[in-house]
Point group: C2
Chain length 399, copies 2
Amino acid sequence: MDGQLVGEKIAQAKAILEELDIDLWLLAGRETAELTDPSFPLVVGTSVTWTGLFLISRMGEHLAIVGTGDVDNVRSTGAWPEVTGYVQGFREPFLAALDRLGPRQIALNFSTDNASADGLTHGVFLLLREALEGTAHAECFISAEPIVARVRGRKSPAEVELIREAVRQTDAIFDRLGAILRSGMTEREISDFMHAQIREAGLEATAWDYEYCPTVTAGPESPWGHVGPTAIGIAPGQLLHIDFGVKYRGYCADLQRTFYLLRPGETAAPAACQEMFGIVDSCIQEAAAALRPGMQGREIDAVAREIFGEHGLGWDFAFGHQLGRSCHDGGATLGPAWERYGRRPFDPIEVGQVYTMEIGAKVPGYGVVSLEEDLVVTEAGCEFLSQPQRELRLVRLES
Amino acid sequence: MDGQLVGEKIAQAKAILEELDIDLWLLAGRETAELTDPSFPLVVGTSVTWTGLFLISRMGEHLAIVGTGDVDNVRSTGAWPEVTGYVQGFREPFLAALDRLGPRQIALNFSTDNASADGLTHGVFLLLREALEGTAHAECFISAEPIVARVRGRKSPAEVELIREAVRQTDAIFDRLGAILRSGMTEREISDFMHAQIREAGLEATAWDYEYCPTVTAGPESPWGHVGPTAIGIAPGQLLHIDFGVKYRGYCADLQRTFYLLRPGETAAPAACQEMFGIVDSCIQEAAAALRPGMQGREIDAVAREIFGEHGLGWDFAFGHQLGRSCHDGGATLGPAWERYGRRPFDPIEVGQVYTMEIGAKVPGYGVVSLEEDLVVTEAGCEFLSQPQRELRLVRLES
C-alpha cells in the first residue's frame, strides 16, 4: 500500500479513536515480514525486523519507535513523520512517549473473536507488559478490536474500487477457464491454468493461500472444503465448482462459480442440479435484498439459513464474511450465533463494509452447487461488486 | 513442505519433547494463511481457516482438532493420522484429548526473546486459557521456546541441502548481475533485474520481504539498512553493496556482496575500500575459525566485534542469525548480550544449525563495505555453505 493510502487510514483511525473515546492505539511487532499483524499493511505500511512500536494517538500525533536498522525504512513510507530509533531496547523511548501522551487506555491488537484484530503475539504482549511494569501505564491495556474492525471494515471509495477491480479480474479468469475446459482435465490442471492467468494478467497474488486458491471440486467424489486441487478429472454429466479470487494492489476478491458439464446431446443441466442452483441463488438474492446498515450479521445469515433449512439443507459455515486486504477480513460477520464466531455475528453492519455471501450443497451423483458473491454496504442496502451468477454455467467439453 | 518432511520433523519434535521432559506441544492458530505461526510450515504442513489445534505428544501420539471445513485439507497432508472436526467450537474435543493424554505441561508457541517461537497470538492464548478454565489442565501452560528452537535449529541433512541450493542460486544471480551493471543504473533497476532472475530461475520467492530483497546501497549517499531500493544510480568510483537471498523449496539464503565500480583507467579499488574490506573479511574468517558447537553465540559475536572495535568501528546488530525456512530463523543467535536479543546470545550453538555471519561499515565518500556468509555447524566447527567473498568484486561499468 502506498504511503498516501496509509496516511488516509491513519487519519481515519484517529477519528475512530475519537468516536470510541480511546486515547491510544499501539501496534507492536517484530520480524513482521514473516509474521504480519493484519493491521500493519493498513496503518503501518511496511515491515520491521526488530520489535517496532507504532503509536496512533487520538490527540493527533502518531509516532514510531523502531530498531535503528528499521528507521530509514519506516521513514521512507512517508506516513510516519516522527521515527525514533533504538539500539539496545525500546523501553526508554516507549516510556518517554507514554509519559508525554498520557493515554488513559492503550489499545492493543488482541481479540478472542476477530482474527484480523488479533495480530499481537503473546510474547510481544508479555514484553510490553514487562516494559510498563511498575509504571502508571501498566493497567491501561485494552483490546483494539473495535478500532481494527472499523478501520478495516469501513472501506474508502478508493479501497472499494480496488476490490471491484479484483472481482473483475477474477471473473475474467473464470470466463477464460470456461473456454478451455476439456474432458479429463484434472483439478490440478485447472488450478495451474488459473495460476498462469494470474501471472499473465500481471497480478500479484491469489486472494488466499496459493495452494488452495482456487479450490476445485470436480464431480461427486472430490473432497469439498478447504482442500487443494487433486488428480481427479472432470467428466460430462458432472458439476464443477470453483472457489477463487485474485489480489489486486493488496485487495482481494472471493467468488464461487458452478459449472455444469454437458453430456453429448444434453442442452440443459439435470433437474436436481437446477433445483439446487435455484435454492442457492435465492438464498443470496433474498439475503442481499434484506441487508440494511445497522442490522446484525446474524439476521442476514438467518435469511439464507432459513431458506436452506426449508429444503432440508444445512450449512456448516457463516453465510458471509468481510473482504478487503484479506480474504477473511474479520470483524462483523454474516454468521450464526455459534461459539466459534464469538460476538462477531452481533456486530453492526456498517456503510462501506464489503461482504461475501456464500452457500452451497452437494447434489448426489453430480457434485457441488455453491456460489459466492461480493458486495458493498450502502446507505440504502447493498450493491453487488460481482455480476452474480444467476444460472448454472453450461459447458460443452472438448474431448 | 511435503508431508514426508513434515512427518520427519514431527518425529524429531517427539524426541526433543523427551529430551526436554515436556509432555505436550500444542500449536494453535486460525486464518493461518494470513497470520502464520512460523512453526506451522515445519510441523503442521498446511494452513487452517478456523481455530485449529495441533497436539504433539511425547507419548507418541499426535492429533489435530480443526473446524470441519479444514478436515480434508489437514488429512491430505498425510502427516496427521488423527483429525477431529468440530462445527460449533473446539472446547469439547480439546478437553477430551487432554483428559486422555494427561500432560503435565502444555507447551505453547510464545516467547519474549525468539520471534520464531512466538507464533501464538494473544487472542488465541486467551481462548485456550478460557477453554481450560476450571479444569485440571488450566495451570499447565509453558513456553515452547526450547522445543521450537531445537526443531527449527537442528536441520536434517535434507534441509541443509535445500539451503545449500538456495545459496547457490543466490550466488548465481549475483554473478549475472555483475555482468550487466552499467553506469547510471538505479538501485530500483538493479532490484528489478534480480527479481526477474528469480522468476527466470523458476524460484518461488525472495528470502524476505519482496520489496526489501535485495536491499541495494549504491555509493555514499544511499540510505543503508532495511530500506527499499531507491532511484539513486550507480557511478564509477563507488561501492555497490547488496543484501539478497532467494527461497528454494521453502528454505532461504541470505548473502551480502560488495562490488567496487572502477573508474576509467583504475585497476584496483582505492586503499580505503580495500582496507575496510580486509577488516570485514577477517571478522568473518576469524569468527568462523573460532566457532565450535557448545559455545554461546555471544562468544562468536565477540570475536568479530573485537576485531571491528580494534579499528574503531562499531556494529549495531547481531553478528549472525540462524537461517532456515525463514531468513531470521530465531533461537540461538550470534549476537551481543543486549536487551533486544534477550537470552538468545546465551543459547548454545548446536550441530546442524545454520547461521549467517554479517558485518560491515561505511567508507566515507565511497559507500558501504559489508559481507554476509552462510554456514552450517558441524562436529568439528563449521562449514561455509556459501563461497565466501574474499576480495572486492571489481566491475568495469558499461556506459
